[in-house]
Amino acid sequence: MIRIEHISKRFKKLQALDDITVQLIKGQVVSLIGPNGSGKTTLIKSILGMVRPDKGKIFVDESPINGDPDYRKKIGYMPQIGRYPDNMKVGQLFKMLRNIRNADEKETDSFLIKHFELEKIFEKPMRTLSGGTRQKVSAAIAFLFDPAILILDEPTAGLDPLASEILKGKILEEKKKGKLILITSHILSDLDELTTHIMYMQDGKMQFFNDIETLQEETGELRLGKAIARIMKGEKTDKNWIDKMFEPENDEKIF
């Protein structure tokens, strides 16, 4: 469904993406992980055509993405930091998105609008919303048009546990429908139950892309997080980051 061929992107001094080649297919739930500034968001924005790569090609459903913007109909995108027109009210935002796609309210997927109880704040302007509420709006927009591909950039960061569970349930449901779901996250444990594939990035390079079973076989660990930690230790990459990532998990066990 998404084929990325040798893409590179440089921002001034920073090599954000360095010759990345990967193919993602239907039914996969891919966890894109890596430290801050490793190029995860740049990769996602390249798929969406918001960042223009210096080199390489991206195909969505076998057609290259430069040219017709219609391929974005197939993609639901939830940004890391959702930024919306300040003066627009929440209700207007949804109405506008439906309007520009010529979609009726009945045709769209309002599951998250309903379960996040966004209707209550339909009259509020976007600028008054808290970070978490914004995230809820972003999530509801991503799922609104029942897209075949979902790209979620740090979906659970900033959400309260309840909302986080609702979102996870929704992702699981979409997974069952055989959609391609690409999720970036720092918190590994959050995604354990959903993920089928892991893609690990560092310094703009893709370190590995594997399915969970292979990872677990190779490392003999059941927990995803630990499996990755093993892999990381085996490969000579920056171990500090992965150690830091597991600190809260150790705390959990102590208390």
């Binding site: 921002f11 924005k45 969406l48 055509g49 918001m50 960042v51 223009r52 017709d68 913007p69 219609d70 391929y71 974005r72 109909k73 995108y77 940004p79 930024r83 919306y84 027109p85 300040d86 003066n87 627009m88 506008m96 998105l97 309007n99 520009i100 796609r101």
Partner: protein, 264 residues
């Protein structure tokens, strides 16, 4: 079919741009300002062509400045909207042209209401229409230039800075340079060269276009007679329209080209 779809889509987006602009109320204040200034000019001056001259001078200074600043600020304020649209199935050209359509339409209506109504009431003659034509053209030219500057500039401060520089250049510095040139080369026949140089500044060409429609132009000597021959004729009108069109289309085209390649 695709073309129809295209314009339909544009209107749809422009509608939201317009809606956003109208809500900020700045454009309404601008309309009122233009209306009050024009009305008071016509009220104060007995002679309507004198009033026209004062109005022309105000318009030539204020219109480009407001168009540049308003467009630049609007562009940066709607960055979120642009970003959101870019993640939807919508081409970059569509997005930027809708923004342009929305901004230029609102600035244009502000001008046509604010200045157009007084002119219709007090000076519905050839000069009046020339003034309306020049004002409309200048609004579009400077909106287009502002889009070019803001798409290129990396942040708001640079964008507004660039817009102000453009205004200084076209409204003040350029005229100074031409004056310097004529002053130093008075012995040479410069009329044609100056005519060419003037075409490089939309404000100047607009000024000449209107002034030569006024009676006072007879007072301005031989040079003016030459220009009057040229600008008074059909070719002159075509020439002015053509130059103005180029000044609208080229910066806009450059802005679209840059915007298509830009990282959002």
């Amino acid at each position: 079919m695709t073309k129809k779809y295209f314009s339909f889509f544009m209107m749809k987006l422009s509608r939201y741009v317009l809606y956003d602009i109208l809500r900020s109320k700045i454009i309404i204040a601008y309309t009122l300002f233009l209306f009050i200034v024009s009305m008071s000019m016509f009220q104060m001056e007995e002679n309507s062509s004198k009033a026209m001259l004062s109005l022309l001078n105000i318009i030539l200074i204020v219109l480009p400045l407001i168009s540049l600043i308003f467009t630049t600020i609007h562009y940066y304020n709607s960055y979120e909207f642009i970003e959101l649209m870019a993640s939807q199935p919508m081409g970059r050209t569509r997005i930027i042209l809708s923004e342009f359509a929305g901004v230029s339409l609102s600035l244009l209506s502000a001008f046509l209401i604010g200045v157009g109504i007084p002119i219709f009431l007090f000076a519905a003659n050839e000069t009046g229409f020339a003034l309306l034509f020049t004002g409309s053209a200048l609004t579009l030219v400077f909106t287009s230039l502002a889009f070019f500057a803001s798409v290129r500039a990396r942040d708001k401060a640079r964008g507004i800075g660039a817009a102000l520089l453009l205004w200084f250049y076209f409204a003040l510095i350029y005229d100074g340079l031409i004056l310097l040139l004529t002053f130093n080369l008075t012995d040479y026949p410069l009329e044609k060269i100056i005519l060419a140089l003037v075409s490089l500044n939309p404000i100047d060409i607009g000024r000449i276009f209107v002034v030569l429609k006024m009676d006072i132009s007879a007072l301005m000597g031989v040079t003016s007679a030459l220009y009057k021959d040229f600008f008074g004729s059909g070719t002159g009108i075509l020439f002015t329209t053509g130059i103005m069109l180029l000044w609208i289309v080229i910066p806009l085209w450059l802005a679209v080209r840059k915007f298509r390649k830009k990282d959002l």
